[in-house]
């Protein structure tokens, strides 16, 4: 049995890091993830972890320090949000291409500008093609659980990719909610010791990390990264199954909520999935067969599996908390519809850009999306697929 607690999402992430007790944490504070390094630094100072905490002067340095630490053979973690991730951008690619399994807690916040401190997913979407595994979390519990699984996935010999665990800034990071923690010893045993095969501090095997990589090999190295991302699917599935044995909490690539008999489905990520589940339950009291597909694993993207899960629906809405500003649709929508097309699934599908810059997304707005889906299902086709939810028109 776990430990019944109440924690904010940031506290949950910091506690996970304490239980993991990594060798190095390098971080620079930024709203709304500031509390994570803040709490963690108190764990360092009171001796509850033996981590080397590097209080760097910028996020670029935070990621650089994590890269240096991982390359040396240590387990490294960081936390950031929004423009902090933007400043890391150069090093984000270095981390993944150098195949260093760094773990980051990303508390999602709108990327400036104009300046905004609130939640959307534009930060995570900016690095969706950088070769990091991206797991999304509905609430504090999932942010915690995903972090406990993170190193096992990232450090697996068939993967060796960095991983970020996302949760919604303020909405879950600053909300106190119930959570069930795993006992310290169990976490320690589950996460295990990091034993890298190749590392700089191994005097028996001198290696170079990050050398020049030109026409002769870079393509093959990128291909290997792509293969590692494919391998990550199998590893995520097996680590999640092992986690379920320990905690009883079941995790898949995505959650299918009330989808056994659903006809209309909303696809979304993070905290909005909870509001959508509640709304689907309310609609079901009136005989409307509503479901929710909550994407947990956005990178790698479970294309075939999502297409299969949506194949028997009458209409689908994909909710994007980031706009691609591409005159075509949001990033999740494009991935979902492309997955459907390639796998021969032709269900009318629409996109709603919502919640930008922390705009609150209510149950009644989600209800309106389901009402639109009922109409689309009746007509059998969706007009104007690139839509907005909760934005003022004037």
């Amino acid at each position: 049995m776990g430990i019944r607690e109440r924690l904010s999402g940031n506290e949950a992430a910091a506690i996970a890091m304490k239980q993991i007790n990594p060798d190095v944490v390098a971080a620079f504070p930024i709203t709304p993830s500031t509390e994570i390094p803040q709490y963690f630094s108190s764990f360092v100072s009171n001796g509850s972890v033996d981590t080397e905490f590097v209080a760097v002067e910028s996020e670029h340095s935070a990621m650089s320090a994590c890269i240096g630490a991982e390359a040396a053979g240590a387990r490294a973690m960081t936390a950031t949000s929004s423009n902090g991730l933007s400043l890391m951008w150069e090093m984000i690619y270095i981390a993944s291409s150098t195949r260093l399994p760094i773990v980051m807690s990303l508390v999602n916040r709108a990327v400036s500008g104009p300046l905004n401190i609130h939640n959307d997913h534009s930060d995570a979407m900016g690095v969706r093609d950088s070769g990091w595994i991206q797991l999304f979390s509905e609430n504090n519990q999932e942010a915690y659980d995903n972090l406990l699984m993170a190193h096992r996935i990232a450090e697996h010999k068939d993967v060796l990719l960095p991983l970020m665990v996302c949760q919604d800034g303020f909405i879950t990071s600053h909300s106190i909610e119930n959570i069930e923690l795993v006992e310290d010893e169990k976490v320690k045993e589950f996460v295990g010791t990091y034993k890298p095969k190749h590392y700089l501090l191994n005097t028996a095997e001198p290696i170079a990390v990050g050398p020049l990589d030109l026409q002769a090999y870079l393509f093959e190295h990128k291909r290997a990264q792509a293969e590692a991302m494919k391998n990550a699917k199998k590893v995520i599935a097996s680590v999640s199954a092992e986690f379920e044995k320990m905690t009883g909490r079941h995790y898949e690539f995505f959650e299918k909520y009330k989808m056994d008999d659903s006809e209309i489905v909303i696809v979304c990520m993070n905290s909005t999935a909870g509001t959508a589940k509640y709304t689907a339950d309310c609609l079901r009291e009136n005989g409307i067969k509503a479901g929710v597909l909550k994407v947990r694993m956005f990178r790698p993207f479970p294309a075939e599996e999502i297409a299969k899960a949506l194949a028997n629906q009458k209409a689908v809405a994909v909710l994007d908390k980031a706009d691609s500003l591409n005159a075509a649709g949001g990033p999740l929508f494009e991935d979902v519809t492309s997955a459907m097309f390639v796998n021969g699934v032709f269900v009318p599908t629409v996109n709603y850009i919502y919640g930008i810059g922390g705009r609150d997304t209510t149950e009644s707005e989600i209800r309106n999306v389901y009402m639109d889906l009922i109409e689309i299902a009746k007509k059998g086709k969706a007009e104007n697929p690139y839509r907005y939810l909760g934005v003022r028109s004037k």
Partner: protein, 192 residues
């Protein structure tokens, strides 16, 4: 979410409305409930109007949005009554609890169309008597527990001793005063 209770707090930055909402979440958690306690962050500065929220239920809570149709509203600063629509969406079977010394005519007038119950408490008087300083959030916390019946007074008082010991670990001298503020507030809050 059969027995879900939703509470909205209105205060000004620095008065502790956010802390009070977190303490309420804590207390309800300790009686076995599922809870949410979260502030709506705007410009973070002393004196700016702020809102905080609580959801309390015996079933898991999955909704992650602000609260638009609360069962109870707590107003920590009565100068907000004329600038913020504090009763927006407030259920008429619910209640509003205001820290004020204003008379009932003024309150009924300023709350216009609101038909539900109005409770008042002079949290300044309570706080000055118990703590010698003006911290309105502790009395308001007791007032909302009393009015909403989220938990019994005994359960609440017992739990708060633990919470204050934790919260004021570095200044234990203020624990007794805060407990006294809770006790006085329980008696002081009145329906008009």
């Amino acid at each position: 979410m059969g027995d879900l209770i939703e509470i909205r707090w209105h205060g000004r930055g620095g008065q502790g409305a956010k802390t009070a909402s977190l303490l309420l979440a804590d207390a309800a958690f300790n009686t076995g409930k599922y809870i949410q306690g979260f502030p709506e962050y705007g410009p973070e500065r002393m004196g700016a109007p702020i809102t905080a929220y609580n959801r309390i239920s015996s079933c898991p809570i999955t909704v992650h949005s602000n609260i638009y149709t609360p069962d109870y509203v707590v107003v920590v600063d009565d100068t907000l009554l004329e600038s913020v629509n504090v009763t927006a969406g407030l259920k008429k079977e619910g209640a509003i609890i205001i820290n004020t010394t204003k008379d009932s005519n003024y309150l009924k007038n300023v709350l216009r169309d609101y038909e539900g119950s109005i409770y008042t408490i002079d949290a300044r008087k309570v706080s000055m008597e118990a703590l010698g300083q003006y911290f309105p959030n502790t009395p308001m916390l007791a007032a909302v527990v009393k009015v909403s019946n989220i938990m019994s007074e005994e359960e609440f008082m017992q739990d708060m001793v633990g919470s204050f010991k934790h919260k004021f670990a570095k200044k234990p001298e203020v624990i007794a005063g805060n407990m006294k503020a809770l006790e006085l507030a329980m008696k002081e809050v009145k329906k008009i």
